[in-house]
Subunit: 267 residues, 2 copies
DNA sequence: GTGTAAATGTTATAATATGTTCGTTTAGCT
DNA sequence: AGCTAAACGAACATATTATAACATTTACAC
């Protein structure tokens, strides 16, 4: 077949056929460009963009500025930055304060969650600590830190979420003892109740506090006054509660009477 | 494809595609230079710097003056990729044969190793199976497969190796029962002894066979006649042994007398 | 033909990427 | 240490691309 015929075959195609052709392009190179495809198929750039949007839904491509690339997921990668963080700045500040509670030689438990993940980032340069966690994100963040031994709890990988839960996790957790547990929460009631949005996580959280000498709750102000599916305890069960100053002062005063030391960070 | 075409493919790429290409440069060399990449992709040095900054954010590389080097995490990734390609065809063929042993609804154990990782790739479209594994690579490969429930064993993350070992792993494994265990090996003695290069892995392998009704050993011919640090059992303990036809026939005949069903694949 | 829905093209505006300049920092050398 | 050339990063200007809303064309049933 001559080249002119080949080119002609690419024009006036129904959309589905064109999308199939676009998909073939990825076999040769790792990325395609919108402008290149528009020329090749003799359609407007807008049409190509719409095609790529369709392909993004069904195929394994990811749109970028100027084109699209194959989403070749790395091995050993547990996507955790998928979701956009809500109170990113507050969470980082809370994590910085939590970092100050950690001393060399300690055994820590780090719960699942974005705030505890921020803490994990700060723990990379710690010396001689052990981190026990059910979170694959925390584990992959710390697995190359020279001063940190990472113990991953066993269990079922929750679908769409890089962490472990289930009876195996609970059983595994019972094998350990730790100095300090850091936990997040999906909601904190005005009465000081701590809530998780997942029942299995709540059970794990409860056990964490039991096997740790002390525990520390990390939650930004947006969680206060929220409730969620499962209650895993109250602020009376924790030793430290770190939040940001945007939290209502009256609440914090009430919480303090329950027992925990309240630490607030500016944000 | 001629060289001129190859070069053309690197130009006028959307930014994300270029970043992917840059990342692949590290597979060959351990470092890249800004000026070299700028020439290669026909963009300004500033653009390359910005690309490198993006890759650094993704924790893929670490920037240096004049270029960038791989992070430990990515070195591990490429190391794994390289090992997969050693006898890659044989490993894939063996994995394909192993896949045929698996039926819907079964509970499987997948050991650490590159051959079992190839099997994991083939199991992505399985229906309603459960995979129990100490390998983070296997877990990460299967974590988004809709028909697969992944159970990760707990334990200590071995430094420089994405898998779990230790007493916790062994204890965790005891909690489960499986239909079929797939294992690799670092060496198989001419007498049928199975070897691991790590003592802790050997202990885990032994337990795997105990908690699984049947077990299947996957190893290409290059492993036969090799020995390694720790012996975890013999071929008499396994039910299936899948290898490739490049294995010496005399050996296989001897192995068959020990009990396992020997399956060979062309390669 | 005519009506209708889907696909495509067009335009204006916003977002993003790239190149250039220039003052600052760095690595390597004597 | 002090020097030099290279590399870096910030800020700006420019060019490219994305998005949404609307207009147009096409396809197809009746």
């Amino acid at each position: 077949m001559n080249i002119r015929r080949q080119i002609a075959l690419l024009k006036n195609l129904p959309s589905a056929a064109r999308q199939t052709q676009i998909r073939e392009r990825f076999a040769a190179r790792s990325g395609v460009s919108v402008s290149g495809l528009a020329l090749e198929f003799d359609v407007s750039a807008m049409t190509i963009r719409r095609d790529l949007a369709v392909l993004e839904d069904q195929a394994h491509i990811q749109r970028t500025h100027g084109g699209a690339v194959l989403t070749q997921r790395m091995m050993l990668e547990f996507d955790y930055r998928g979701r956009r963080e809500n109170n990113g700045a507050a969470k980082k500040a809370i994590a910085r304060e939590a970092r100050k509670l950690v001393q060399s030689g300690q055994r820590l438990i780090l719960d699942t969650g974005t705030t505890t993940l921020e803490l994990a980032v700060l723990l990379k340069d710690a010396l001689n600590i052990t981190v026990i966690t059910p979170s694959l994100a925390v584990a992959s963040e710390l697995q190359h830190a020279p001063g940190v031994e990472v113990i991953l709890l066993g269990g079922v990988i929750r679908r769409g979420s890089p962490d472990l839960t289930g009876p195996a996790t609970e059983h595994c957790l019972e094998l350990f003892a730790a100095d300090l547990a850091f936990q997040g929460a999906d909601g904190i009631g005005l009465d000081g109740a701590i809530y998780n949005s997942d029942l299995r996580l709540a059970r794990v959280d409860k056990i964490m506090r039991r096997v740790a000498t002390q525990s520390c709750l990390l939650a930004d102000h947006s969680k206060i006054g929220q409730t969620a599916l499962a209650r895993n305890g109250t602020l009376a069960d924790v030793d430290f509660f770190i939040t940001n100053t945007a939290a209502p002062a009256a609440c914090l005063k009430r919480f303090a009477r329950l027992g925990p030391k309240i630490i607030t960070v500016k944000s």
